[in-house]
């Protein structure tokens, strides 16, 4: 009994510190998610999908921009097929994120991978890709980060639905800049040399161009593939 305790104690301690670290690392995401989730909840309550509809979407879909788009489309009375296909297109970019993280997650079980994929968002991916480059943390830490992010998303959704029309404009606080600011910092941290800089600048410019020319749903994935491929080509030229 005593032996057993002595053996388990450090492991519990490690587990706890991994969870705390993961939750802490989720702070920037939480700051950005809550106001957006509240906005989503308010919109959802206006189109009449109800508290449970909005919460179910935040629990099972967990994709910010796609949820906002879908709620808008439901409000306009779009067909089910259109809504589902748009969601698919808008979220297809996660395919690339998931591929990019896969080399770092080979020690995870299939169950863990299935769960990790469920909580892959732009923001969790952004933090993980920055962390994994330095060192891959214990799986528990990453799961704590993902779950904290999702809890704040679901929590914000509930607040938004319940508050409905009561919430006044929160723009004055500048919280709508939390996620853009996080992305600015993370893009900056990703840039290791001129090729990375070129890839980022190209991806961003092409994404803006695609948005302006009416290819909004394809913009992220199209710009990403084009820019990453250019990066490999330039890298090959340089090493020749």
């Amino acid at each position: 009994m005593i032996n057993h305790q002595a053996k388990d104690e450090p492991r519990d301690k490690n587990a706890r510190s991994a969870i705390v670290k993961g939750m802490k690392d989720a702070t920037p995401i939480v700051t950005g998610y809550i106001p957006i989730a509240i906005a989503f909840g308010i919109l959802a309550s206006q189109v009449g999908i109800g508290l449970w509809g909005a919460v179910a979407m935040s629990v099972f879909v967990f994709a910010g921009s796609a949820q906002l788009i879908a709620v808008g489309m439901i409000g306009e009375g779009a067909s089910m097929g259109t809504i589902v296909f748009t969601t698919f297109l808008v979220n297809l970019r996660h395919l690339l994120m998931s591929s990019a993280l896969s080399p770092f997650l080979r020690n995870l079980s299939r169950k863990e991978l299935a769960w990790f994929g469920f909580q892959m968002t732009d923001e969790t991916f952004a933090i993980h890709s920055a962390k994994f480059r330095v060192a891959v943390p214990p799986a528990l830490e990453s799961f704590a980060l993902n779950s904290t992010a999702q809890l704040s998303w679901v929590g914000g959704t509930i607040v938004g639905v319940l508050a409905g029309g009561m919430v006044k404009d929160v723009e004055g606080l500048g919280l709508d800049y939390a996620l853009p600011a996080m992305f600015i910092a993370l893009v900056f941290m990703q840039i290791r040399n001129n090729i990375y800089f070129m890839v980022g600048a190209l991806a961003g410019t092409v994404a803006v161009f695609l948005n302006l020319t009416g290819f909004g749903a394809w913009s992220t994935i199209g710009a990403t593939i084009l820019a990453a491929t250019s990066g490999v080509i330039v890298e090959q030229w340089k090493t020749k």
Binding site: P28, I49, W52, G53, M57, F60, V61, F62, A66, I74, M80, V84, T87, F88, N91, R93, H94, L95, S98, S99, A100, L101, P103, L105, R110, F116, G117, M120, F125, A126, A130, E171, G172, G174, Y177, P180, A181, M182, I184, A185, L186, V187, M189, I195, Y196, V199, G204, T205, A207, V208, N211, S219, T220, A223, T224, A227, A228, G231, V232, E235
Partner: protein
């Protein structure tokens, strides 16, 4: 809750989940060709930039490169702080404070 809404949410969940999980489940099982790995290492900077640029530069649907775009203006102090401190936290606080300040000043 209407049945149609339930079905929409379930289908949305499905089409979102498959692209998120499939690469993790498949690509972790074998060694990727070296060229693919080299391509994948550019994905983070590319995809994050592809999300960032439109969110900062497109305001109300159009390209806004002027000084009344508070998201663009606030990017400068945010970049400065992340460059000097390498801290995500300070960068975000700087961004948020800058945007609220610019709005308060009526930019």
């Amino acid at each position: 809750m209407e049945n149609e809404i339930v079905l929409i949410i379930l289908l949305m969940a499905l089409v979102t989940y498959v692209p998120r999980a499939a690469p993790l489940l498949l690509l972790t099982r074998f060694d990727l060709p070296e060229k693919v790995v080299r391509w994948l290492k550019y994905i983070p900077v590319a995809v994050l930039s592809a999300l960032l640029f439109p969110s900062v530069l497109l305001q109300e649907g159009g390209l806004d490169l002027t000084f009344v775009n508070e998201f663009l203006l606030a990017a400068l102090p945010t970049l400065l702080v992340v460059w000097r401190t390498r801290s995500l936290f300070y960068a975000i606080v700087t961004g948020i404070v800058s945007v609220s300040l610019l709005r308060y000043l009526g930019v």
